[in-house]
Symmetry: C2
Subunit: 158 residues, 2 copies
DNA sequence: TGCAATCGAGTTGTGCACAACTCTCTTCTG
DNA sequence: CAGAAGAGAGTTGTGCACAACTCGATTGCA
């Protein structure tokens, strides 16, 4: 049995689907543009900012754990952390307990940057122009969507 | 006057904001993962698929117009089209009316690929696991969000 | 205990996104 | 009509995302 691709509003879901995905792609890039502006004087990119956020909140942790929090693999994270290291914001040291593991921690400069970054979320919040209720619902929908997509991708592996 | 950063549900909006943006980022990448699976035997990446979609729907058009449809600048589009050209799916010719303009059109192979790509939207739709109503609302919210972010980014230029 | 399997980081290669630039062609204006 | 200004495409350089790989450390199990 094949589901109809047109709903009661007369919208073609096949078309709609591509628009959803395209809209998401566009929104993601627009967010990137706003963050680029807001982060300009910190010298951070958005993914670097996310990494710093995680370290500000949780303190030092292994690269592995940071990758889980940010959902990034080492191919992305290693060079990113190298750049943060070069910028003097983080330090990386082998764990004495497990020589495979590298512990990422903040330097003094990295901790100091936190004060400068404090107003960033408010600026971003203002830029969204959405009401809190809408943001909450959007987040809920996105999280469900991410879970569904991840498990779909997994079941498509074969 | 400073707005409260905590709403009536006791959620910290500063935290929420970062979660929204992070959630969006995560969803965008999860979509990427599903498309990677689904597009595997076409040999296309997701942005390449978007470009092909635009050409299947609208026929040949200048690079400029394609960039507007996909919201991509030439720095992204030129090499992407070069790869599609190398793959034999599109052709690029200078416009006879305006030597600055390049017209992108489909080759026979590019047109044939459409049949193979026909079931892709349905697969993606299934992978989202969302009801049509939710998709429609999500699209609406995302479009508003994108507009707000774009105009915010513009006003932050200076 | 010894060795195979696994794990954690890092590297390499490809492609996307974007800023800043060049080059050519067109258009506008004095 | 000439030269300046602008438009359209492409290039260069940086950084992110991800697959596939290497390498050394650890773990597990025969």
């Amino acid at each position: 049995m094949v589901k109809s691709t047109t709903n009661e509003h007369g919208e073609d879901l096949l078309q709609l689907d591509t628009q959803i995905c395209f809209a998401l792609h566009a929104t993601s890039r627009s967010f990137g543009g706003v963050y680029r502006q807001v982060l300009r004087d910190t010298g951070l990119t958005y993914p670097q900012y996310l990494a710093m956020m995680a370290l500000w909140e949780h303190g030092e942790m292994p690269v592995k754990r940071l990758g889980e929090l940010l959902r990034l693999d080492t191919g992305t994270l290693s060079p990113l952390l190298k750049r943060l290291d070069t910028a003097g914001l983080v330090k990386r040291d082998r764990s004495p307990h497990d020589e495979r593991s590298v512990i990422v921690g903040l330097t003094a400069a990295g901790r100091e940057l936190r004060a400068q970054a404090e107003q960033i979320p408010l600026k971003i919040l203002a830029a969204t122009g959405l009401e809190p209720e809408e943001l909450i619902q959007l987040r809920t929908t996105l999280n469900r969507l991410t879970d569904a997509l991840d498990s779909a991708a997994e079941s498509l592996q074969d």
